[in-house]
């Protein structure tokens, strides 16, 4: 079943897209403001929610026809039997650690000074068993650090700086634009865990419910095509991307102006997903590797 799609007066298909309030959302907003979606016959409204825990159900229910979740959450949802299809890359890590949107930071005068020290650190992440944890472990393992002794403590990104300052945790994992605030607070970045875990990886996907994809393959394809364009536009116009989140998500312009942007890759990247899946299993975020063929949307042909 699922709710009927509505059309606008000029024949465009109304589509509600759920997203969490991060810089990752920039192309989506640009797609709307630059008329990219309109060009592809879509009338997109963006719906912001605080966490994927609310976004995925809303997508499965087809209240948002399209949603967003990071790669690990996608695996977890699929593993638990939620009927989702990944439609398009949302955002990814580049190849330059200096431009990573994600950093693990420590206090300059704290107990942890080197990457090696992280082996027994208590690191703040926004959510356990998730992308932060997996990517940090991947990055550290690639640097030859034993990750078995690391502890992770969950808390909202916005609380991390203080927790580190107080010494509640030894290190924090921050993503942009909070990295800028953490640097301003005088913290030292130790690793760029997204880039180091796997350069040029896709970290989050736009997704839809399997039922929706089956019923409206053309609409999904249109969205996918539009996102190709929107991601390209955002990559080419980083200033506009920054502006988009300032206008739409009311991000602090000063902080955003210095923040690193993620990459906004084309299409659907399976290779990095496969690698993340392997490690996610290894670190216990999921039990077994997902069937990526089933999870990835394979175009309107099916």
């Amino acid at each position: 079943g699922g709710p009927e799609l509505t059309k606008t007066a000029d024949g465009r298909t109304a589509l509600r897209v759920g997203i969490i309030p991060t810089i990752d959302a920039a192309p989506l907003y640009l797609g709307v403001s630059e008329g990219i979606f309109a060009k592809h016959g879509l009338d997109v409204t963006v719906h912001v929610a605080d966490s994927g825990a609310a976004l995925i159900p809303a997508t499965v229910k087809q209240e948002n026809q399209i949603g967003y979740a990071n790669v690990i959450s996608d695996f977890q949802a699929a593993e638990q039997g939620l009927d989702i299809k990944l439609v398009h890359n949302c955002c990814g890590s580049g190849a330059d650690p200096a431009k990573d949107v994600s950093q693990v930071l420590v206090k300059p005068d704290g107990p942890i000074r080197t990457v090696g020290d992280l082996a027994h650190a208590n690191i703040a992440v926004n959510s356990l068993h998730n992308i932060g944890e997996v990517s940090i472990k991947m990055a550290l393992e690639k640097r030859g650090v034993d990750v078995s002794g690391i502890r992770f403590t969950p808390m909202p990104f916005s609380d991390m700086n203080d927790a580190l300052k107080r010494g509640d945790v030894d290190a924090i994992w921050q993503v942009e634009p909070n990295v800028q605030a953490a640097l301003a607070a005088g913290f030292t970045p130790l690793i760029s865990n997204f880039v180091e875990a796997r350069p040029e990886a896709t970290l989050g996907y736009y997704l839809t419910s399997g039922a929706f994809a089956k019923q409206n393959p053309q609409v999904v394809q249109a969205f996918s095509d539009a996102m190709d364009e929107a991601n390209r536009f955002a990559t080419e116009h980083p200033d506009k991307a920054r502006e988009a989140v300032v206008t739409n998500l009311r991000f602090n312009p000063e902080i955003v102006s210095t923040a690193n942007l993620p990459t906004y890759p084309q299409g659907l990247d399976r290779a990095s997903a496969a690698e993340y899946a392997t490690y996610a299993v290894k670190y216990g975020a999921i039990e077994k590797a997902p069937d990526l063929d089933g999870l990835f949307w394979s175009g309107p042909a099916n």
């Binding site: 994927g52 995925i56 977890q76 068993h129 403590t153 203080d162 927790a163 010494g167």
Partner: protein, 255 residues
């Protein structure tokens, strides 16, 4: 048959009926979000009876009880005080109402700032949430103290602590009890909220973690446990209330 025994029996009947309905309604459920009750119970047994699960329960109950007791005591003391000093009441009520309206989730950063990430922060948050219903009820119960009784206390010089213990508290007790009955489930809810941040243990942690990783059956098993705990706490409180406020049974004075 004795009314009390009959009441208990009826309670069991009600509970069994509800469980049966739930069981039957979800028996063949394929929905990820509403798994069969049998599966939930299995999961519950697996997790909550394991050593790890027992540690989760113990840590949550410890925080919950400390927070609840602190909240109740502070609520009674402040409520009873404000109820008798109208000036104080007027001076503080805007500030109180202000703090009261702020969601616990928004106060988390503040609690963390004060106490860091440890047990104290959780206990503080639980106490802060539980304090309001008790405080408001104690306040209103004190304010509507039977005027003749108030006069009696004044005439016989029953003042200070003695007045509080012998007149004000017993008179406000039924209201305070109803406040505590609201605070008990709140304490459970806040235990969950407080464990959303910075913890590795506890019922709330398990629920939130399950929620984040879409392990809905695990989440249900946690919710179930909360229900059981809430029921047990309310029941215990009912027993304590009967022991502490025996005169209240006069309401059912011989028919």
């Amino acid at each position: 048959m004795n009314r009390r025994v009959l009441s208990a029996l009826l309670g069991v009947v009600g509970a069994v009926a509800t469980v049966a309905i739930w069981w039957l309604a979800t028996e063949n459920s394929a929905s990820v979000y509403f798994p069969p009750l049998s599966r939930i119970l299995e999961t519950a047994q697996e997790h909550w009876l394991s050593a790890e699960g027992r540690a989760d329960i113990a840590s949550s109950i410890g925080n919950l009880l400390s927070g609840l007791v602190i909240g109740v005591v502070v609520g009674i003391v402040v409520g009873v005080a404000l109820g008798q000093v109208p000036l104080l009441h007027r001076a503080l009520s805007p500030s109180i109402e202000f703090v009261r309206a702020i969601p616990a989730t928004a106060l988390l950063p503040f609690a963390m700032m004060l106490f860091g990430l440890g047990t104290e922060m959780k206990v503080f948050l639980i106490a802060l949430g539980c304090v309001w219903p008790v405080l408001l009820n104690a306040l209103d119960g004190t304010r509507s103290l039977e005027p003749t009784l108030r006069d009696t206390a004044s005439v016989y010089g029953i003042t200070g602590v003695r007045r509080q213990l012998n007149i004000v508290l017993p008179a406000a007790a039924p209201r305070i009890a109803s406040g505590i009955r609201v605070a008990i489930p709140l304490s459970l809810i806040l235990t969950v909220t407080s464990e959303m941040v910075g913890s590795h243990q506890g019922i709330g942690f398990v629920i939130v973690d399950a929620q984040n990783t879409f392990r809905i059956t695990d989440m249900w098993s946690g919710v179930l446990l909360l229900g059981v705990l809430g029921f047990a706490l309310t029941w215990l409180f009912g027993v304590a209330e009967k022991l502490l406020l025996p005169w209240e049974k006069r309401a059912e004075r011989a028919r």
